[in-house]
Amino acid sequence: MKAGTKFALGAVLIIGSVGYLMASGIKQTGQYFLTPSELAQHVSTDPSFYDLGLKVGARVVRGTVSKDVASQTLSFHITDGTVNYPVVFKGLPPDTFTDSVEVVVEGRLQRDGVIHATNVLAKCGSRYEAVPKA
């Protein structure tokens, strides 16, 4: 076999594994990123969306945040204007978390209609600029 051919085989092997890793990586670890409305719509047509790891991007509903510092439980509602979901999160919220901030909630929607979050990310407008006073 010529060196060029051998190299081509090696190259195909590498490129193939990169492609394979990316495809199976997404299958195994990728998550849906939905708005509350999209989530509601998916759940109503396909119950497998219950208890599925996903991310929901929405805004915290003002006045719904309750923190229990001792048990480190945070509960609040999120909304995209039309659909509203309650969220329960056990853990420490990020510094930028406030009521009315935009959040990305990572977790599972349970049959009780509550999103049990494993992680909450608060989106601050910018790393560099002040969070606009809402």
Binding site: V18, G30, Y32, Q72, D95, E129
Partner: protein, 677 residues
């Protein structure tokens, strides 16, 4: 001052246009007067932009809040140290900073380039002026003018985001920018070479130095950024595959690939097309990164707010890619290889695999960064490509890259004989297997970490062997003692041994990354006097005793600080302090949300990392998160070694090629005389 600044920007814009026109036209028509004028234009551009930068700094230091940029990013009580960094902490200012630094590099490129490469300089001036003019144009027309005035003058500014009030933040963006911006110089040389059709190996020499410069700045910027994320953001890690981090990593990967594949061109006259494409690609990626972070296209914790500036960048990007592609394609016939691959067991082949892996990594990072957009466009649903996905793909690729880092330098050019392979690999392979066995016996079962440690030992073995053989040869030949022989090796063959030191840095970085597989974490609510315990994977039991809370004001913030006594296996090893900071303006009103100051006790084996999450109902009972991060110190140390290695490679003077190996140009020549079958 704001008026002067705006005037300077307009002046810079016109001068930049002039430089671009005279550079290209002067180069094309060979008119010395225009070429001279283009060179002068780069100087004038630097002067005008320097005036703009100084005007902005003066406005910042004078607290001139009639300027929107100053009012939006600083306040009267902002510590002086951070006033400096306000220059580049917002969209408009950072555009100015970009343009100014680019003009500085443009002048350096004109001044420092040796006479041999004179023919490229008018085009280099043209390209740099054009790119700078684009940035200035964005400021003037987008508009994103840092000197825009408010209709009224507020009493105080709204202050700087507390996460930016950290020493890392003062150095991290400029370093990253320096890396990013300086890529324009090798790019400009590549364009100049394409335009002049001087596509021999010569231009590569000019480009290589500049590529190492920007590679080095980018490396430093990435490392400081990781450090900033680690000490400031408080989530316990240093790399989150955030789009902004990825945007800086992409050109770094491509430039690392280039630094290796260019050696194949120098020695064997191969890969000319590929090398040019890498340089053009690295630059396009740097502009793409700037676009990503400014357009709000991709959500990131770091991004600037959405703004029309993004469209300008997109248009510029499309135009630049189109122009580069046309130019590149028309010159392809001039870029034929002078030799072919002779054996798969050769240095060239190992470099090819090195490049495939680095570009594969770059591709997967790019794909992952864009995946949310792609999946939404194709499938109608956004699917995230999160940290687990990135790790799933990139850890295996990274491990193979680490392995190849050991293999490449051991294999001979053209064709390696079996005897050669045995001689070269015996010791390093033994080292790798030995390390694997030790860690297995020690009870480590994480496959990724096991591979990282044993590949790492293998690479260290190869580097050690190279140094030992080189030093022994010198010892025999010149009777030098070992330390002198090693020093001479380094100083006479900086490129080669500097490269090996960079590789040691990479090994140490990988060790540090692997350590993250063993992090342990717990959260606890403690009253003063109470203790939380956490066992690290280093086998020790760490205990943290809450000593109490203190509250006070300082500078521009209210601080709530918790003090903890730390013990390892019952023996006191020191105290840790972690804070919650509430930033306030000069009148004592709260600005921003409270921020966390992490308490870190760093050691060779583990870092103890403590975050104060809050107080329970205002009492001294406090909630903490304790993390034990193994081997993080080695990430910083590995980064340091990498930078030192890069500096050795770059250090000017002395023989460019080693005393022991034949000059590269000569080696390349030998190939020409002996055409491949």
């Amino acid at each position: 001052m704001p008026l002067l600044g705006t005037l300077a920007l307009w002046l810079a814009f016109l001068v930049g246009l002039w430089g671009a026109i005279t550079g290209f036209v002067g180069g094309a028509q060979g008119r010395a007067d225009l070429q001279q004028s283009a060179r002068h234009a780069t100087l004038a551009l630097l002067a005008a932009l320097a005036i703009a930068v100084i005007s902005l700094e003066i406005a910042i230091f004078r607290h001139d809040f009639s300027v929107a940029y100053v009012a939006g990013r600083t306040s009267r009580n902002l510590p002086t140290f951070y006033l400096w960094s306000a220059l580049y902490s917002g969209q408009e200012g950072s555009l100015l900073f970009w343009a100014a630094v680019l003009s500085l590099f443009a002048v350096l490129a004109q001044v420092l380039t040796s006479r041999r490469h004179r023919a490229f300089l008018p085009y280099v001036a043209g390209v740099t002026s054009l790119v700078a003019t684009f940035f200035i144009g964005v400021m003037l027309f987008a508009p994103a003018n840092p000197f825009t005035r408010l209709p009224f003058t507020p009493l105080d500014g709204s202050g700087m985001n507390p996460q930016l009030q950290n020493p890392g933040m003062v150095f991290h963006p400029p370093m990253l920018y320096l890396g990013y911006i300086s890529i324009t110089i090798p790019f400009a040389f590549a364009i100049a070479a394409l335009l002049t059709k001087k596509l021999d190996t010569e231009w590569m020499v000019a480009v290589r130095k500049w590529t190492i410069v920007s590679w080095l700045f980018l490396s430093i910027g990435l490392l400081i950024g990781m450090w900033w994320a680690y000490v400031e953001l408080g989530w316990g890690g240093y790399w989150a595959w955030d789009p902004v981090e990825n945007a800086a990593l992409l050109p770094w990967l491509v430039m690392t690939a280039f630094l290796h594949s260019v050696m194949v061109q120098e020695k064997r006259g191969m890969l000319k097309k590929w090398n040019l494409a890498l340089i053009l690609g690295a630059w396009v990626l740097s502009i793409f990164g700037t676009f990503l972070t400014r357009s709000g296209v991709i959500a990131s914790v770091h991004s600037f707010t959405e703004s029309p500036v993004g469209y300008y960048f997109l248009a510029f990007l499309v135009a630049a890619v189109a122009a580069c592609t046309v130019l590149y394609v028309t010159r392809l016939p001039l870029l034929e290889a002078e030799a072919t691959l002779e054996s798969i067991l050769s240095r060239e082949a190992s470099f090819l695999f090195n490049n495939l892996l680095l570009i594969g990594l770059a591709f997967s990072v790019l794909w992952g960064t864009l995946f949310p957009i792609i999946s939404e466009a194709v499938k109608g649903v956004k699917i995230t490509y999160g940290v687990p996905t990135f790790n799933f793909v990139n850890i295996p690729l990274g491990l193979v890259l680490l392995l190849v880092t050991g293999i490449g330098p051991l294999i001979a050019w053209r064709r390696a004989s079996t005897a050669n392979l045995k001689r070269q690999f015996a010791l390093p392979v033994t080292a790798g297997v030995f390390a694997l066995l030790i860690f297995l016996v020690a009870g480590m079962r994480d496959v990724g970490a096991l591979l990282a440690f044993s590949f790492g030992a293998f690479v260290l073995g190869t580097v050690f062997q190279e140094f030992a053989r080189g030093a022994r040869a010198r010892h025999r030949q010149y009777g030098e003692p070992t330390w002198l022989a090693v020093f001479q090796l380094l100083s006479r063959n900086r490129r080669r041994y500097g490269g090996y030191i960079v590789h040691i840095g990479i090994v140490l970085l990988f060790m540090g990354f692997a350590g993250m597989a063993f992090k342990t974490e717990t959260e606890a609510t403690l009253r003063p006097g109470e203790t939380a315990e956490l066992r690290g994977r280093d086998g020790h039991l760490y205990s943290f005793t809450h000593l109490g809370i203190s509250q006070y004001n300082t500078l521009n913030r209210y601080v709530t600080a918790a003090l903890l006594e730390v013990k390892r296996d019952g023996k006191a090893i020191g105290r840790l302090r972690t804070e919650k900071r509430q930033h306030v303006d000069a009148l004592g009103n709260k600005t921003f949300e409270p921020s966390t100051e992490v308490g870190i006790m760093s050691g060779l084996r583990v870092d103890l990392y403590v975050v104060l999450a809050g107080l329970v109902n205002g009492t001294e009972q406090a909630v903490f998160r304790f993390t034990i991060n193994p081997l993080v110190w080695w990430v910083w140390f590995g980064g340091f070694v990498l930078v030192i290695g890069g500096l050795i490679v770059l250090w000017p003077g002395g023989p460019a090629t080693g005393g022991t190996t034949p000059p590269r140009s000569q080696a390349g020549y030998a190939v020409k005389l002996e055409p491949a079958q």
